[in-house]
């Protein structure tokens, strides 16, 4: 399948880029690495009259430390993230999550901005035009039915980006730049939870994601990302979870974050689990309790080949393992 026709622009600075998006309102696509967009265009899931490439805007490619924050330009590739000394040292969970995306062939061009803006996925949606033409067009592709739930005008396609749970666990915020406005918002607030328009840019805000700002974690923070997928070599997560804990050396945990991908139309933070853990000493019993509580906050829908129950089972195992790993608690078994 070849790409449809489009007109291609390569703005050389942000001003030029935002001028173009406001001029082409609703008729353009933004291309970063293109690893997701190219496939969607080949599948005729996106037909943009104009493509605006962010390749030639050097300001989007830096990674720097500023005051107590690390600022990552949206056009850094996942390889850049994995190989960055600052990220290796200060944000190991992000490094690990970026490394889990796809395969080396993708990470060499796929960007962190593209990962954050990644559209939600579904087995009835991410298919060729030919495959999809055997059924009525579903809600996300512009129709009115949902082949997963049989509901009308609702879509439960799943958010599957790998780096986002780690970024939310680190309390990341993002900068969105439009033609005459710039705003900063917490990354968690970027997501809408609506499978049709899962983030504010896809909802049509006419903005470019320019940078990600992450407060440098204090020394007493530990974190890990665990991902489960069908093929180890190259696959989207069926479930992914980032777990961060603060002050665990002090015996009593001062703060904790448990953030999932793959289980809803947005990243999901297990808030009850967080409350449960704070102030407690991490024991095998508490780990079991917290994991069970975290999983009770998940409501996956069958948008891939795994049943919701199976996903919850996997999520339970991943959270338990992640809590043991960050808390240094042994369960007496090899796993």
């Amino acid at each position: 399948m070849r790409l449809p026709e489009f007109i291609y622009h390569e703005p050389e600075n942000l001003q030029e880029a935002t001028n173009l998006i406001s001029e082409f309102n609703g008729r353009y696509g933004i291309i970063a690495g293109g690893t997701d967009l190219m496939v969607k265009m080949k599948q005729r899931l996106q037909n943009s009259q104009y493509l605006i490439s962010l390749d030639r805007i050097p300001a989007l490619k830096t990674i720097k430390e500023k005051a107590d924050n690390i600022i990552i330009g949206s056009m850094n590739t996942l390889d850049d993230i994995v190989n960055s000394e600052i990220i290796k040292e200060k944000l190991p969970c992000l490094k690990q999550a970026a490394w889990e995306v796809g395969s080396p062939l993708l990470r060499s061009v796929a960007t962190i901005g593209g990962n954050i803006c990644l559209n939600t996925r579904c087995r009835f949606y991410n298919q060729s035009y030919f495959w999809r033409s055997s059924r009525e067009t579903c809600c996300k592709a512009g129709g009115h039915v949902c082949h997963v739930t049989n509901q009308e005008d609702a879509c439960y396609s799943t958010f599957v980006a790998d780096t986002v749970p780690a970024l939310i666990a680190y309390d990341a915020s993002i900068k969105l730049v439009g033609v005459d406005k710039t705003r900063k918002l917490s990354l968690a607030d970027f997501y809408t939870g609506d499978g049709r328009m899962p983030n504010q840019i896809l909802k049509g805000s006419n903005e470019i994601l320019t940078e990600i700002e992450i407060p440098i974690p204090k020394d007493d923070i530990r974190s890990v990302y665990h991902k489960f997928r069908v093929r180890e070599s190259i696959d989207f997560p069926l479930v992914g979870v980032a777990v961060m804990m603060k002050g665990i050396e002090e015996k009593h945990c001062q703060d904790a974050r448990v953030v999932f991908t793959g289980v809803g139309s947005a990243p999901v933070e297990a808030k009850l689990a967080r409350e449960k853990i704070i102030g407690q000493q991490l024991t095998p019993d508490l780990i079991l309790e917290v994991a069970t509580m975290a999983v009770s906050e998940l409501h996956p829908v069958k948008t891939d080949l795994m049943s919701p129950n199976y996903k919850r089972g996997i999520a339970q195992v991943l959270v338990e393992k992640a809590l043991r790993d960050v808390g240094g608690v042994n369960n007496g078994k090899d796993d």
Binding site: M1, R2, L3, P4, E5, F6, I7, Y8, E10, I31, G34, T35, M38, V39, K42, Q43, L51, S53, D55, D79, G102, S103, P104, L105, L106, S108, V109, E232, S233, I234
Partner: protein, 160 residues
Amino acid sequence: MEKTINLTVNGETRSIAVDVNQTLLEVLREDLGLTGTKKGCNQGECGACTVLMDGKPVSSCLVLAVKADGKTVMTIEGVAKDGSLHPIQETFNQKGAIQCGFCTPGMILTTKNLLDKNPNPSLGEIKEAISGNICRCTGYVQIIEAITSLAKEKNARGGV
């Protein structure tokens, strides 16, 4: 819409007018006649279309040709020198790491990139490096054997 791009392919500087909706894979195969680069899935899953762009392995079916403007590209045709196969190609042959051959160009380029960066990869590093190159035939065992023996030979030669 057409655009002229300048790129270096296998050491040769080229200036080509491409349609902006052509992928690098299409330009290599159809405009430059470099059909050693294969089209498998055409959607980033199989690695048959792997080329090295500015020294990094990429799936050329996902890269717009216009994005290769100003870049250096190496395809499988650029690996052999003066009519003789590269040691990686020789070793793949000898070790039976090639069956139908469809994944081979991509596999060789990924291997070249790995060994150029890391002459002494562990088994885990080898598996990770070729994780985006899918082979239907060999079961990977011979491919991994070939790469392991190349690393050993390279070390024995002092890294060249």
